[in-house]
């Protein structure tokens, strides 16, 4: 066991921090919470791409740097720590690229991975439907073969990064006769495809981070089917392990965590034993979450898929985030309800924003309940019902 990083890895971390601190100092953006899903900034994504920091772990031949998962851990941990607006490239970098690498044809890899790495291809992830959330396999959107194309019809909801996306990764039913898990396929769809329309969703924080997507006879060439037809569900499970694998949920509200501690010290609130206890407990819980996240990276470093470990890390961390937002609101008292931009609002309104957003943390990307089912059945071997 070794909890340290190599000199090279430490040097990389320092380089990332320096870059982000410089950007903040120049006033290019301000740290926010949930910056990976709400922080859209094409300029930032372009500058990150120029550093070679998108697709860090992908093979060099596809535009990546061929680094190990630990490097991506370091990079993303720092991005999140500084609340950097990485949403444009986050989903492509985190999971869609990996999916293409794992299951895509050579042609698909060459078409998309270099573009993603250059910061020129933003992806939204389009899985859920009004009738298919946790029960993703119940999805209804249909993809029917027509010569060299699939024709897609249906409605998707909670599609991430939709308003800026160049492409959507989406899932549709290709075999309505098969058992529901066995008739689903993954596609890449151009956001400008005829027949594809979008209605923004405004979430409880007042942010437009997701959209409804409507597919009306959208034609997609067969080459944009990822992997095997009808094997989409199993490919997705693999992708979801990576979606849940990162430091997002333990670091996503770091800006708030730092701010509330600083606020408490400056206003002498941390002398109050109850508040002191609360903050110390958050620090302990944060550290546990950090270690669980590191453990996931450690598993990936060994070349294993982090199934139980990702589910555990995400389930734990989103509950932490909820407690963090809750504790911050308690400490701020009536001031906590002031929204960003209000007169007298403390800590830039990070608390009220996260308080509202936290209601969704334990739902998006796998509800805590589903994750615990996975931990119990696939992780601990308990029998399914």
């Amino acid at each position: 066991m070794d909890f340290s990083f190599t000199d090279e890895q430490n040097k990389f971390r320092k380089e990332v921090r320096q870059f982000l601190e410089d950007e903040i100092r120049q006033g290019l953006w301000e740290p926010i919470c949930d910056s990976w899903i709400q922080g859209y900034n094409p300029g930032f994504t372009m500058r990150v791409a120029q550093k070679g920091w998108i697709g860090l772990t992908w093979p060099k031949e596809y535009g990546g740097q061929g680094h190990s998962p630990l490097y991506r851990l370091i990079l993303t941990e720092e991005m999140l720590r500084y609340g950097a607006p990485a949403a444009c490239h986050w989903f492509a970098d985190r999971q869609v690229g990996g999916s293409i690498l794992s299951f895509g044809t050579e042609e698909l890899k060459r078409e998309f991975l270099p573009k993603i790495a250059k910061g020129e291809a933003y992806f939204g992830v389009s899985m859920s439907e009004p009738g298919a959330g946790s029960d993703l396999a119940a999805l209804q959107t249909r993809a029917v073969e027509d010569g060299d194309y699939y024709v897609i019809n249906g409605q998707k909801t909670w599609t991430s990064c939709a308003y800026l996306a160049h492409y959507f990764y989406m899932v549709a039913r290709t075999d309505p006769e098969a058992a529901k898990h066995r008739g689903i396929s993954e596609f890449i769809v151009d956001a400008r495809a005829p027949g594809l329309s979008r209605i923004p969703m405004i979430d409880i924080t007042g942010t437009e981070a997701w959209s409804d997507l409507f597919f009306d006879n959208v034609r997609v060439h067969k080459k944009y089917l990822i992997g095997e037809k009808n094997r989409g569900f199993y490919q997705i499970l693999h992708q979801l392990d990576y979606e849940r694998s990162g430091m997002e949920r333990i670091m996503g509200n770091y800006a708030l965590f730092e701010a509330i501690i600083k606020f408490s010290k400056e206003n002498k609130l941390s002398q109050d034993p109850v508040i002191r206890n609360k903050l110390a407990q958050l620090q302990i819980e944060f550290e546990i979450g950090r270690l669980l996240g590191y453990r996931v990276a450690s598993v990936m470093e060994e070349g294993r898929a982090p199934n139980l470990e990702s589910a555990m890390s995400k389930a734990y961390s989103t509950e932490f985030e909820k407690r963090l937002a809750s504790a911050a609101m308690e400490i701020l008292g009536p001031y906590g309800q002031l929204m960003p931009g209000s007169k007298l609002v403390p800590i830039r309104g990070l608390a009220s924003h996260s308080y509202l957003g936290s209601k969704g943390y334990s739902l998006q990307g796998g509800t805590t309940e589903i994750l615990k089912n996975i931990m119990a059945t696939r992780g601990l071997g308990l029998p399914g019902s």
């Binding site: 066991m1 070794d2 909890f3 340290s4 990083f5 890895q9 630990l70 501690i261 408490s264 010290k265 941390s270 002398q271 002191r276 206890n277 903050l279 110390a280 407990q281 620090q283 302990i284 550290e287 546990i288 270690l291 669980l292 590191y294 453990r295 990276a297 450690s298 470093e301 060994e302 139980l308 555990m312 389930a315 734990y316 309940e369 994750l371 615990k372 089912n373 931990m375 119990a376 059945t377 992780g379 601990l380 071997g381 308990l382 029998p383 399914g384 019902s385």
Partner: protein
């Protein structure tokens, strides 16, 4: 960064697990709880022959030259097996402090015999009163007289004092700013030990010092300046306890998932019910949280890195998480789990004792608060 054990550590783990599975059955544990000494001299000798006492001591004293992190693995297996006896007291509370701050003469005097399993040691730190886990609350008096220190006072919850050959203890000389660590012959008639009846059946004692003279040669380290040495001893002991607790709750998780797979009610294994599944998921999360925070602290201690914050985090978390794990284990086991016939109680009682030893969550939350600069 690598969060798995080395090959050597895996081997140590396997050897320890197999040995203890054979020699430290629950029947044996019960016998030791009921016995007066609380340990078996035969098993003690076998452990010494395996090199366990000497594991982390330098070769020149007869030790194995391994690291604290290696011993963490051993302590975890001991926790898993509910190993009774004075190993922790002798090695972690006695030997390692002597190695830390003893003179070369003292090390030569005590360590080889400790390592050969010939002498038992322990440390007397806590005293009557509440919320007093560290050196600042030490009141046992050490008055200088005729080249000795005359020791008067009471120590509490001293593990294995009743069988110890040597007693390390922390006392305070009124004229000195800080505390002093002494070593005394535990068999002296001026030291009176009473074994307390504890929940975990571990042999914690009340120790009365009745004006026992202790020569200068038996002072460990600097007189009147041992506060930071005491802090280090407590930190290491706390992490050591955490290691035992990792082994404890890991085994509890396994027992519980096994039970959930086998026990049927309503024509199906209870492990197929979602609530039970979620309880097990929560237990697994707590076990891993304790594991990694404990091993992080153990690694930092091994590397000689300052780690008061990480130790505090590990011990605070281990205490509360293990309570959650045991509560859920009991809930899932149902009635059978609250009998003495079943094995769960061994783990429940020991987890509680571990939580209480060397500082609980409230104590360590304040340490974390200070480290955060709150």
């Amino acid at each position: 960064m690598k969060l798995t054990l080395t090959e050597e550590q895996e081997m140590l783990k396997k050897t320890a697990r197999d040995f203890l599975a054979d020699k430290c059955t629950k029947k044996f544990v019960k016998q030791m709880e009921e016995s007066e000494t609380g340990y078996s001299t035969e098993l003690w000798q076998e452990m010494a022959e395996l090199g366990w006492m000497g594991l982390v001591f330098p070769e020149k004293y007869g030790g194995g030259d391994m690291s604290f992190l290696d011993m963490a693995v051993l302590l975890e297996e001991m926790g898993r097996a509910c190993l009774p006896g004075p190993f922790f007291s002798t090695v972690v509370l006695g030997g390692l402090p002597i190695l830390d701050i003893g003179s070369e003469e003292q090390k030569q005097e005590y360590l080889p015999r400790l390592i050969r399993g010939e002498k038992i040691f322990t440390l007397a730190l806590n005293e009557p009163g509440y919320q007093n886990y560290d050196a600042s609350s030490v009141m046992v008096d050490a008055t200088p007289y005729n080249g000795n220190h005359i020791i008067k006072g009471t120590k509490l919850f001293v593990p294995d004092a009743h069988i110890a050959d040597y007693l390390l203890f922390v006392a305070r000389t009124k004229s000195e700013k800080g505390v002093t660590i002494f070593l005394a012959d535990a068999k002296s008639p001026k030291i009176k030990c009473t074994t307390l009846k504890t929940l975990a059946g571990d042999k914690l004692c009340e120790v009365l010092f009745n004006q026992i003279p202790v020569p200068k040669a038996n002072i460990l380290g600097q007189p009147g300046q041992a506060d930071s040495a005491v802090q280090k001893i407590i930190e290491r002991a706390a992490v050591g306890k955490c290691c035992e607790m990792v082994g404890n709750i890991q085994r509890v998780l396994e027992m519980t998932t096994d039970y959930a797979k086998e026990r049927k009610q309503f024509d199906r294994p209870i492990g197929s019910f979602q609530v039970i599944q979620h309880y097990c998921a929560d237990m697994a999360t707590d076990v891993d949280g304790v594991r990694f925070s404990t091993y992080q602290a153990a690694w930092m201690l091994s590397e000689g890195l300052p780690c008061s914050k990480e130790v505090a985090i590990a011990k605070a978390w281990a205490g509360e998480a293990s309570q959650r794990v045991l509560s859920l284990a009991h809930q899932i086991h149902g009635a059978i789990g609250v009998t003495m016939e079943h094995d769960l109680h061994f783990y429940t009682r020991r987890a509680k004792a571990g939580e209480l030893a060397f500082g609980d969550a409230n104590f360590y939350r304040e340490v974390v608060a200070r480290e955060m600069g709150l």
